[in-house]
């Protein structure tokens, strides 16, 4: 069975809740995989090592993970966090940046430290800044259906379907509402469909006279608008209808 892990970095668990929101499909998925690690859902694997001068308690990310679903960004000021993401990469065949924080930083892009009880924790980056990421799924959170589609495609080795997510893993770390300005409107490609506006989860996009207007102060840099726009990426398999 395919060994799947959910790795929780600096995230809010909303991505995992979005996965759980599939109800009966979640059971299908759980039936098809071996969930080897998920602190929220499964007993953590705790290893206690006792040496002469100290007792070490570790929650170990298992080895031989096939698909690691990583939620949250990496706090560079927290060495546990950095170690966790490095271990995740080392132990996993496919690393998926699940959701905006992991894929593009999301709301954690705005973190700047100064808060108790760790005022020194100020630097947060998408996981792709620290490790190589295979697939990135934008969204805050990504929709339930998109998580299921992605996992099912990964289980079935459907690389055609996954290709856009592989590209976002490569190029999507700076996601922002500006993406539709820079990559669509400014390239004379925007035909005003309004997909980006409906997709934006914080309503940071208004359609004004048929073109998106980005209210940057609302944008949480989730990357959905750019990912959803058909004038950037229109995968061939979308053309197959029955």
């Amino acid at each position: 069975m395919v060994r799947v892990a959910h790795i929780h970095m600096s995230g809010c668990t909303g991505c995992l809740i979005s996965l759980a929101d599939t109800y009966e499909k979640l059971l299908d998925i759980l039936g098809a995989v071996d969930l080897v690690y998920a602190l929220t859902l499964a007993d953590e694997k705790t290893e206690i090592t006792e040496t002469d001068d100290k007792i070490l308690i570790e929650r170990k990310i298992p080895e031989d993970i096939d698909i690691a679903l990583v939620e949250g960004s990496v706090c560079l000021d927290d060495h546990h966090s950095v170690e966790d993401i490095l271990t995740t990469r080392k132990n996993s065949k496919i690393v998926v940046a699940l959701g905006a924080c992991a894929a593009s930083g999301g709301v954690t892009r705005f973190a700047r430290g100064g808060q108790m009880s760790q005022p020194a924790h100020s630097a947060f980056v998408p996981i792709g800044d620290v490790i190589k990421v295979d697939l990135a799924l934008p969204g805050c959170p990504p929709s339930t259906e998109s998580i299921v589609n992605l996992i099912m495609a990964a289980l079935n080795g459907d690389m055609d379907y996954l290709e856009p997510f592989a590209e976002i893993a490569k190029y999507g770390k700076d996601a922002c509402g500006c993406d539709v300005i820079k990559n669509v409107i400014d390239q004379s490609l925007c035909m005003g469909c309004g997909t980006c506006a409906a997709a934006c989860q914080v309503k940071a996009i208004d359609m004004i006279e048929g073109k998106p207007n980005i209210m940057t102060e609302f944008c949480i840099k989730c990357g959905i608008c750019g990912a959803q726009c058909p004038r950037v990426r229109f995968p061939e398999l979308v053309q197959k209808i029955e």
């Binding site: 035909m191 469909c193 359609m207 058909p230 004038r231």
Partner: protein, 282 residues
């Protein structure tokens, strides 16, 4: 080059309801399908391009016959129909949404269904996708320049616009009918339309347009099993009357000619953009 995309059958048709025919652009197929859908329970909400002041278009979720009739007719300006699709499902609580859009918007909704990254619980609520043929579109001020400056009719007075027989037609509420040659409208076109490779809404369940059928009638492509079932039910219920497309003039030959001319012209633009290193949808 494939002019039409996949389809199961093509027919010429018009709405049976006289009130729909009076308000509709062509055969009233979109309005008839919507009204039939709401009345039969096949749909519980539909997306329309509503008419606003100054003949502007605004996307809206409609749940009544009146709203649908009020939005009938073509607005030759971009109307971001996708932008309200989530509010149909969330604020209106619709479970069976009917959608209409230009070919590009039909592509958009198909992508949103296949890759619903920001579309939680939306894909399974889309019950019918209707597409309207489209050669090109205009930004609002482009349409306004055509209507006010070239045709001398105030936007507030417009009751209908149409493109046909090589001309852009404007009808005012005072009974004036003005035209300008289509070639004079080209400067006002939305430039992003020039990379568009779809004339007949190839990804819709049912596509419809005026070209190919006589005045007051529409040409229809039925493309999916869902579309076929829906259209059959409409015919059985007497919501529309149909004719064999081969029995009407000018028929599919003209649709094919226009579809190919659009595709060939825009394929060149796509190539040109690639040559000078500009991105195109892929």
């Amino acid at each position: 080059m494939d002019p039409f995309g996949k389809y199961i059958k093509a027919v010429s048709a018009r709405a049976a309801d006289k009130e729909i025919l009076k308000k509709a652009q062509d055969g009233g197929i979109v309005s008839a399908a919507y009204i039939y859908g709401l009345e039969s329970g096949l749909l519980d909400g539909v997306i329309i391009a509503d008419k606003e002041d100054g003949f502007a278009a605004a996307p809206k979720v409609a749940t009544t016959r009146e709203e649908i009739l009020n939005a009938a007719g073509t607005k030759y300006t971009v109307c971001s129909n996708l932008s309200v699709i989530k509010s149909a499902v969330r604020e209106y609580g619709c479970e069976k949404v009917g959608f209409v859009g230009t070919p590009c918007q039909v592509q958009s909704i198909r992508k949103a269904i296949k890759y619903p990254v920001g579309y939680r619980h939306v894909p399974d609520k889309i019950a019918l996708i209707m597409g309207i043929f489209c050669m090109e579109n205009f930004p609002y001020n482009g349409m306004k320049a055509i209507v006010e400056e070239h045709c001398g009719i105030k936007m507030d007075d417009v009751v209908k616009t149409d493109i046909g027989k090589g001309k852009f037609w404007v009808y005012s509420k005072w009974g004036d009918v003005k035209t300008i040659p289509l070639k004079d409208t080209h400067p006002y076109e939305q430039i992003s339309c020039h990379v568009c490779m779809d004339y007949t809404a190839e990804l819709a369940d049912i596509s419809t347009g005026s070209v190919g059928s006589p005045d007051g009638w529409s040409t229809i492509f039925v493309r999916t099993a869902k579309g076929e079932e829906y259209l059959n039910k409409m015919v059985e219920a007497g919501a529309i009357e149909t004719k064999d497309i081969d029995a009407v003039k000018p028929g599919l030959d003209l649709v094919q000619k226009l579809a190919l001319s659009k595709k060939e012209k825009n394929a060149k633009e796509v190539e040109h953009r690639k040559e000078i290193g500009l991105p195109v949808p892929y």
